[in-house]
């Protein structure tokens, strides 16, 4: 999501030098855009990598029952 938003940026929305005293409305809008993109990224949690660590039948597995390394045995 964040990558898509960067591709859509216009020259006006590019990061400005720090010595610019006042932001234009377009810049302010780009800030809002960036914030919401981050929020949307948080909401669109698409990763399906299972976490968790449980012991089932003597074997350490993740949330989907797949074997994972046991920290204690390292």
């Amino acid at each position: 999501m964040a990558d898509d938003s960067k591709q859509d940026q216009t020259p006006d929305e590019q990061p400005q030098p720090t010595d610019v005293p006042q932001q234009t409305p377009a810049q302010q809008a780009s800030q809002a855009f960036a914030e919401s993109a981050a929020a949307a990224e948080r909401l669109h949690l698409t990763t399906t990598v299972p976490g968790g660590k449980y012991v089932v039948d003597g074997q350490t597995v993740n949330a989907n029952g797949e074997p994972v390394a046991d920290d204690k045995k390292k």
């Binding site: 949307a40 909401l43 976490g51 449980y54 597995v61």
Partner: protein, 352 residues
Amino acid sequence: MAYGTLSSLDTLLSIRQSVLQFGEDRAWESIQIALDAHNAQLADMLGSLVERTTDTRRAYGTGDTKTFDEVDQYGQPDVQKITAGIAVDFPLRRYVNNVQWTRQWLMTNSVAQMVAEINAILDGDRQNVIKQIKRAIFNPTNTSFVDRLGNPANITLNLKAFLNADSAAVPVGPNGETFDGTTHTHYLANATLTTAAATSLIVAVQEHANTGIPQIFISSADEAAWRALSGFQAYIDPRMTLNANANQPFIRSNISNIYNRAIGLYGNAQISIKPWMVAGYAFGYIEGQPAPLAMRLPQLNPDLGDLQPVFDDERYPLRSRTWERQMGVSVWQRQLGAVLDFGHSSYTAPSI
């Protein structure tokens, strides 16, 4: 099997005639009453813990929040949408006990013998239902299930455990709290039973509901350990007088029901001993919220979800080949149940 002060099979137990001499119809009449009572009792026992349904799949985890961004007159924030719901599936299995009650068997066995057989079947069915509920509660991992009894058949279903950090979305809390699906787990573990561990179990289910009473089930083997927790308030034995100068629970302890009773309060939760709980584990859920588990029944004929004899000729129901029940238990509300393992440093699934 006893129901309160009466037993619907008592009459039959006293009969020493063979089943055929006594009459199959008369025997079946009493057996059917006992069977209906058994099924009604079991359905009632499921109570607020297990919901009976014919659904194969339900959407879960659709609750989410959106953020409002501050903009000027030209500002236009990015579009937001809520996280997609997660499908939670329920299994359907056929559980069978073979009997092969032929005419020859009915001629050579007494009614009392048949009642003994039926009592054993009813007990076996009850044990099996409890076992499936325990499996749904204590298994911390998501599993696949090929739905051979479903319509359409042979669809692979995804059975979920309670929240187990599998990265699936978690519904927002009652006050807008968000939970990290990659780390949020309801399978808690601590090497010993401590006040912090007990509190974490209560919080685990409480933080997902805006109303209801947290219930914690424990094994009678762990009763002493829970009573020893600092802050535990025991229900008072009815043979004792209440101390008028102290804050004591007004609810009296059930002293005769040793293995199935509420013993007191810890924090906001009521602690109850259940005969089916595994020693070293505690199960928490919220009473007053949707049931955390679901029992799936056959969609085309939900009656098959009750225990019943399977017979070829409806005129002779006792000449059955098998007794069976078709059902499956799995987690439904993933956030409304949690398990605490207080015998290991990491959650270890018990053998069931």
